[in-house]
Assembly symmetry: none
Homo-oligomer: 181 residues x 4
DNA sequence: AAGTAAACGAGACGGTACGTCGTGTCTTCCG
DNA sequence: CGGAAGACACGACGTACCGTCTCGTTTACTT
């Protein structure tokens, strides 16, 4: 019952009601509640899968691959209208709803992060990034910058910014803490 | 009427109602509405000012100053319980409420960013950062990474991470696009 | 807000919903609930007062007066469409709702009974009924017979039946138990 | 499937749901609906037969026989907890459901009335009641008085009241209208 | 004895009304 | 006359049953 999506985009998350979704889908309200405990869960399920992919194709060029990730997985993700409409609301609901936070993290964020990480690990193995690069932190920086700009400035990163961001990171990425001598 | 704050922390943003605030403050609901058009505006006003300061004191050591900014303005900001409780909800409301977004940006984000920017500009003038450093982007990366981690992992950055983040940036910050010939 | 009555007659008690009443009256559902705890209370208040009167006018002729009571207070009451539509439902609700039973008895039944009793007492004082007539029982018999026929046979008593009923009672009414020696 | 009765007495008519009945009886809801169109029909069938009998035994003493009828068929009927719990609700439903009214009348009321009528006819044939006694009206008066008191006063008639009621009737019962010259 | 049809339990379904709650506006007093 | 108190219209919430409807799975009858 993903005609949730229709209402999501035409009314926005906050103005979308479960009653409307049920009506739109020609379905009893109880049926919706039988499958999802609340609006957040419903939306999360509806949106999952419609998300832009993380490109992991190997091109031989680490910078190119990383740019690709930054562009499609991050700019494409945080910049997409659906995500802009729903993510902040979902995030806000996580404050009261730890289960939702868990699902958001495990079903949306982590898988994307894992695929992105693969690309950076490949860059390390090619020697294009130092072996002690703090991949997690790199990705959080990138994603965070995107998220920040999209949230507060309704803006997203263009190719030029992404290049400069990636290049700066390649030159000197944050390192993992030294563990041994 | 900042006993809003009391309810904010003991009930959370979503469960706090304007009725409760009015009752708590021994005030008519209409009186609250006379001053603020909605809950978001009320909370924004209540919280503003209670926020951790951006330290701009000059110590002579750019790295030290930048770390200080990162620690207090960013980790201290996104990690504080009040901000965690209210920011995501406020952000979610901005989707429907452009005025709120404007105020959030202009009254909270921009001023903090401006003060942080001053610190980075000082670093540039000392020669500790290249003159074409994209300060905005640096700050967005830092803030974004903090925000990201706090939102999805309920976690905040410890000193070690901040050091590594700052050091990486100092070694090779993102640059402004070349504007000249 | 007695536009309850309108819906009562056009939909019947069971099919009338509080939501409809509220909508019809251009009023919030909560406003209805603020004034009446449930449908029964609402209907009881709406109907009270619209009921046929108990005629107590003194004509000098006891039989005539008693017939008048029987006809208007009983046949007119149990035979009226409004009462037929609502009384059984109200009575059914009393099973779960003792407060409703109390109100139904004290606000509808007892006052009518009291006024009818006055007429019979006058007949006693005229010597047209024995002094130890069990007035309560007489009235219950009369009312009960009406109610019975209206409930199970959708029928009401015509003048002829009422005459014979009254005449039989005048000839030999049920007596009060002897109390003294 | 008369474990309906169990739920009837422990929850009351209104709070008893067909789902509960089905669950209690370890039976599918559809199975219940296959046999009865609605709750009223189910309850009517469940209760029928459990009703107190109308005693028609011939004792030779008309007054005694009539008292017996009044006591067991009327006081025993309207005073029994099962009947008190279900009859008003059933009656209320008849307003919307003429078929139910028909069954209630033909399967419950009429048979009892017929058996009671036999007793009164025997009294007439013995000369203890006038030949033109309006038996129907007598029974309706009696039943109605019982019903009335049970419904509005949660009370039932004791032996003394029944005696006085019967005696009054014997002295001067309501007559049938004269039909011929 | 196997094959088939009916009846069955279980429970999901589309609906409808419930009674509660919060919103933002509007009215009523009181000090 | 300003403000507290709170009534008000509105509408979503999540719950409970309704009566209908598929599902497999017994039964019990036919062949």
């Amino acid at each position: 019952m993903e005609s949730t999506l229709k209402l999501l985009e035409e009314r926005g998350y906050a103005s979308m009601t479960i009653e409307q979704v049920a009506a739109e889908a020609q379905v009893g309200k109880a049926t919706v509640y039988r499958s999802w405990p609340n609006k957040a869960a419903l939306v999360l399920d509806a949106v999952r899968g419609r998300l832009p992919d993380v490109p992991t194709a190997e091109t031989g060029n680490s910078r190119e691959e990383m740019l690709s990730v930054a562009k499609q997985a991050l700019a494409g993700f945080f910049g997409s209208p659906e995500v802009q409409a729903m993510l902040p609301a979902l995030v806000a609901d996580t404050v009261r709803n730890p289960e939702l936070r868990r699902r958001l993290r495990e079903e949306i964020i982590e898988p994307r992060k894992a695929r992105s990480r693969a690309v950076l690990e490949r860059a390390i193995s090619r020697g294009d990034l130092p072996p002690d690069t703090d991949i997690s932190l790199v990705l959080e920086m990138w994603a965070g910058a995107m998220m920040f700009r999209s949230v507060y400035f309704e803006d997203s990163f263009d190719d030029s910014v992404l290049s400069r961001l990636v290049d700066a990171t390649i030159s000197s990425p944050p390192r993992l803490p030294r563990t041994g001598p």
